[in-house]
């Protein structure tokens, strides 16, 4: 049941042959080799497979690949700078030691991209709620919260400086 779809993946227009029964996570991992997209539960519970579709974070394991036709998809691979530099959000995760085994990290970073991209500032409790769709078995979440908070504040300050 093959079908050709067209979408923009990490800024690049992409034509990809999919099976209509596969999930977006299947397509990104197996066809496009974007293995930052992890599969933890495959039923929408853990958030490891989170990617952005048209700027909104979704669990790509419960999103059919076919639905990505005509959409913009962003994964962690798409965050790197022109010379392979880490994005400020990834840097914040390193500064705050928010990564242990790293399995949950790409998914949380993609949620952080959506959160930071809103350009708003959030309280710690609001950030807790905004990353509540992710499970982490290692860190105990505190350093992850610190990292997201740091990234949010840095982006907010950057935007404030830009205002006249």
């Amino acid at each position: 049941m093959t079908k050709i779809i067209h979408c923009t993946v990490n800024g690049q227009e992409t034509e990809v042959a999919i099976d209509i029964r596969e999930s977006l996570a299947d397509m990104l991992r197996q066809r496009l080799h974007l293995t930052s997209v992890k599969k933890g539960c495959e039923v929408g519970e853990c958030g490891a497979c989170t990617v952005l579709v048209d700027g909104e974070a979704i669990d790509s394991c419960i999103y059919l690949a076919d639905w990505a036709d005509g959409k913009h998809i962003l994964t962690v691979e798409g965050l790197r700078g022109p010379n392979g530099e880490l994005s400020p959000i990834q840097q914040a995760f390193i500064e705050e030691a928010a990564v242990q085994c790293g399995f949950c990290t790409p998914g949380i970073i993609m949620s952080a991209v959506e959160i930071v991209g809103s350009g708003k500032q959030y309280t710690r409790d609001e950030i807790r709620k905004l990353i509540s769709g992710h499970l982490c078995r290692c860190t105990g979440y505190q350093n992850i919260l610190n990292a997201v908070e740091r990234a949010v504040n840095e982006a907010y300050q950057f935007l404030q400086q830009g205002e006249p």
Partner: protein, 294 residues
């Protein structure tokens, strides 16, 4: 890979209805956050699907000339919560659907899927009951409307006729204008868990804000389907606001509900939650309706 026999993507509402007439066994898929899980679990393995995501007329929120708010079934939870019409006129609904799962689920799940799935724990349901939502169903014989209370017929069962689709959720001005309300979801965790009990209360007060003119009290998981507590509402109508009144509302509500024991909680605990949450929700609803904090 999902175990799906076939997916047909409907291009219009008529096309979706035609596809259902041709294949009555095929399952409608909207956001997929219930259907895909059931396919993974095996309950719907090997099914044929009819996709409705491309039907743009089934998406979005608007207000008509009479002030009636129309929420189309494909609108996702996050789009409902942040929509200006919802924030201004139906804040309790916006808040209630912001309690569903987690952020990624709220970007995928639709209100139509939540209602049509037919489960008592659906976070949108009790608030839609409180606002007297009316559903528009469209099938081969055209459109009909049904109050939401008549749509839920049993656990997992709703009143969708053969080849019918839910096409609109309507809330009339008289059912939201001047009301203030509150929803409380009681669950084992603050996120990514379905409700052990859900309680939605909306009320309208008199001009001096010391008497309840109208109260709507609705619950999820207090019975096999979402429900209103009409006797408790009647007991509150025209009464002076007092802690004793809240207690009376709670005890009357407890006498009307019929929760069951499940692995999440016992019947007794759910009854206690009905008593406690109805008081807390009413107290907050009164404040949102302009009354004093008791």
């Amino acid at each position: 890979m999902y175990d799906i026999e076939k997916i047909y993507d409907a291009v219009s509402l008529d096309d979706a209805i035609r596809a259902r007439v041709e294949d009555p066994e095929a399952v409608i898929i909207a956001g997929g956050s219930d259907v895909l899980i059931k396919i993974r679990e095996g309950k719907l393995a090997g099914c044929r699907l009819i996709g409705i995501r491309a039907i743009k007329e089934l998406e979005g929120i608007s207000m008509d000339g009479d002030g009636c708010i129309h929420i189309r079934p494909l609108t996702t939870f996050s789009h409902i919560t942040f929509h200006p019409l919802i924030r201004e006129h139906l804040p309790v609904l916006g808040y209630a659907v912001d309690q569903v799962g987690g952020p990624q689920i709220r970007n995928i799940g639709t209100i139509g899927g939540n209602v049509c799935n037919g489960v008592t724990s659906a976070d949108s349901a009790s608030t839609l009951f409180a606002y007297n939502a009316v559903l528009e169903l469209t099938g081969p014989d055209g459109k009909r409307t049904l109050p939401i209370a008549e749509f839920y017929t049993g656990p997992g069962h709703v009143g969708l006729g053969p080849a019918e689709l839910l096409t609109d959720i309507m809330i009339a001005k008289k059912d939201y204008d001047g009301f203030g309300g509150h929803y409380i979801k009681y669950a084992q965790r603050n996120a990514m868990d379905i409700a052990t009990l859900g309680c939605s209360a909306i009320c309208r007060l008199n001009a001096s804000k010391n008497t309840i003119e109208d109260l709507r009290l609705a619950f999820g998981v207090a019975g096999p389907i979402p429900m209103r507590c009409h006797k408790a509402e009647e007991a509150a109508r025209g009464q002076l606001i007092s802690p004793q009144l809240l207690e009376q509302i709670a005890l009357t509500a407890e006498s009307e509900v019929n929760p069951r024991t499940s692995w999440r909680a016992s019947r007794e605990f759910r009854l206690q939650l009905v008593r406690e949450l109805s008081q807390r929700a009413c107290k907050q609803a009164i404040i949102h309706a302009g009354g004093a904090d008791l």
